[in-house]
Amino acid sequence: MSKKKLVIGVIGADVHAVGNKILYHAFTEAGFETINLGVMVSQEEFIDAAIESDADAILISSLYGQGELDCRGMREKCDEAGLKDIILFVGGNIVIGKQSFEDVEKRFIDMGFDRVFPPGTSPETAIEALNAMFSAGEGE
């Protein structure tokens, strides 16, 4: 089995770099080929990088609260760009304030994300979720 490819980055005008650097480190250690776009990444940049690298998944971080505005239309843009069914994860502090996570999750699932992660998700949890997603894909 060849290495799975991930594109990661922090969307929008968001500069929270710490989690992004640690995720890159952890994903690489865990055996994924990881393209890290860093902070302040636009939807277009994510999509271009995914096309260019033929990525299996795009993992979007948003910490600063404006993630809801920044993520709108991402799935549609992926579809248009031909990234049909690419795995889309989003995580961090993706909305403003302390909201019920069920509501938030639903909102982002409706926007087309495959999985949504609450504040403080550990790299281990992220890796497990990726592995589960990929092995489910294998099974199909």
């Binding site: 500069v15 710490v18 640690i22 902070v39 600063y64 404006q66 403003i96 304030g97 302390k98």
Partner: protein, 482 residues
């Protein structure tokens, strides 16, 4: 780009000003003379510089939250609540992240979406979009001084509008609002743009209105050793003073070891005074601010109160002039006004219980000495690299990694230096990278970290750094292996 620590001439400033005020329609409402008159009509208790000076004289520590929401009416409600229920001595207006990137269209959209959905869709107050009149509604709504807090690389228009809008203090600087807040902006660019902000502040000063300026202390908030943030604070103070700023608050983000934190606040005051007067700026009033822990917080609110308290206690014992307060919601999201007020009241209680006490640790002087030597080595090296010009010097210093901020998103930051905690939790330096430290200083750090490594029976490595990044969020100061 030609960067030099030299006061902008009136001609240069005026030329720039035309451009700046044209960046967004609200710019046209700025009228400097009229704004000065407004400031002059304010009562003392609404003026930041006066309240700080009074606190410095009486050795008390003022408390200030972070807070900002997109819609004016909601923002006013928030300010009034934090004043009355939060017992805040000073208030902020935190600016949203689109405004920080000068994306005023998106900010506009964020405001209307917030109204439409009935919940905040921006993480702050888009002051440029709300314009001078909107800002004045805010600053006039409370009886304490309000400061603009943001993280904006090019903050020129924001400065014009908010100062005209009656804010009496303004955070930021060309280094501190670049390295932690940008990805692609060259340092020369932000330094030049911040000379504009400082010059505008200087103009107010010359017209009899003393606006407080606050270089942003904590940088990335994540294991930043005191010498790094001190160097930035001192350099930005020098840059501001050159443009005529006379009231400056230098800041530092709590690292968590009380001794180191108190030594840091004390040396921050002392070294800033020293460099200012050494460079001929003799009439600048310097005060200090401690930011409660700026890195990852525990999600549990009770534990968050614990973290908030340690920062409050340290601020009081260090006699910082003010402390910036976190809330029990920190790990999760922008706090409700209630949670924000809780953080403030917790802080107030601790400060009031500690403010009469004194701290006289045996090791305080030696810890201060370490910070002094480290900081001087960095600042002096920057002067040297800039051939005596600190504006040029800091650009070259950052390029060379002489000044290096951990975890910074900016690609012009070297990122070679790696911090981690020693066995007592003080932030030391695992990899000094290109910091211009003497062998003696390097040995000191190596020694301190090997003490911890031995205690933990493992080698010092990047894993230790990662463990330290998570530690406070997980309930500890030092990220020990389990």
């Amino acid at each position: 780009m030609d960067v030099k620590n030299k006061r902008l001439s009136d001609g240069e400033f005026e030329a720039l000003r035309k451009e700046v005020l044209a960046q967004w329609p609200t710019g046209k409402d700025v009228d400097l003379e009229e704004a000065v008159a407004l400031h002059k009509s304010m009562p003392d208790h609404r003026i930041f510089s006066k309240k700080l000076l009074e606190a410095k004289r009486s050795k008390s520590t003022l408390i200030q939250p972070r807070a900002g929401v997109p819609v004016i009416e909601e923002h006013i409600k928030l300010m009034q609540f934090l004043e009355s229920e939060g017992e805040a001595d000073l208030l902020p207006t935190t600016i949203d992240s689109y405004t920080r990137q000068n994306r005023y269209e998106e900010a506009e959209n964020g405001v209307s979406e917030s109204v439409r959905l009935g919940r905040a869709m921006l993480n702050g107050f888009p002051a440029v979009n709300h314009g001078v009149a909107g800002c004045r509604r805010v600053t006039e709504s409370v009886d304490v001084p309000i400061q603009v807090r943001h993280g904006t690389p090019d903050a020129r228009l924001l400065t014009e509008i908010t100062l005209a809008g009656g804010f009496t203090s303004y955070e930021g600087g060309g280094v501190s609002y670049n390295l932690p807040y940008c990805k692609n902006v060259p340092l020369e660019r932000t330094i030049i743009d911040w000379q504009y902000t400082d010059r505008l502040t200087g103009l107010y000063e010359e017209m009899g209105v003393s606006i407080n300026r606050e270089p942003y202390g904590p940088l990335t908030g994540t294991l930043v050793p005191p010498c790094i943030s001190h160097a930035v604070a001192i350099i930005e103070a020098l840059l501001a003073a050159e443009q005529g700023v006379k009231n400056i608050t230098v800041g530092y983000g709590q690292c968590g070891n009380m001794l180191q934190d108190i030594a840091a606040i004390r040396t921050l005051q002392e070294l800033t005074d020293e460099y200012l007067s050494k460079n001929g700026y003799n009439d600048v009033i310097v005060t200090t601010v401690l930011h409660q822990w700026m890195g990852g917080f525990p999600a549990d609110e009770a534990k968050a109160f614990g973290v908030i308290s340690t920062g409050s206690l340290t601020a009081a014992l260090a006699q910082a002039t003010k402390v910036i307060v976190k809330s029990p919601h920190e790990a999760v999201g922008i706090p409700t006004m209630e949670a924000n007020a809780q953080g403030l009241r917790c802080t107030k209680q601790v400060i009031n219980m500690m403010c009469d006490q004194s701290f006289n640790d045996h090791h305080l002087e030696s810890e201060k000495n370490i910070i002094r030597r480290e900081t001087r080595s960095i600042v002096d090296k920057c002067f040297e690299l800039g051939d005596g010009d600190i504006a040029l010097g800091v650009c070259r210093g950052v390029e060379a990694g002489v000044l290096d901020v951990p975890f910074a998103p900016c690609r012009f930051n070297k990122g070679l230096m790696l911090p981690c905690r020693d066995n007592e939790g003080a932030v030391r330096i695992l990899n000094t990278g290109n910091l211009p430290f003497s062998q003696e200083l390097k040995d000191f750090h190596a020694e301190k970290i090997s003490e911890r490594a031995k205690h933990e029976k493992r080698d010092a490595s990047f894993q230790m750094v990662i463990d330290d990044v998570y530690a406070i969020g997980k309930g500890y100061l030092v990220g020990r292996p389990k």
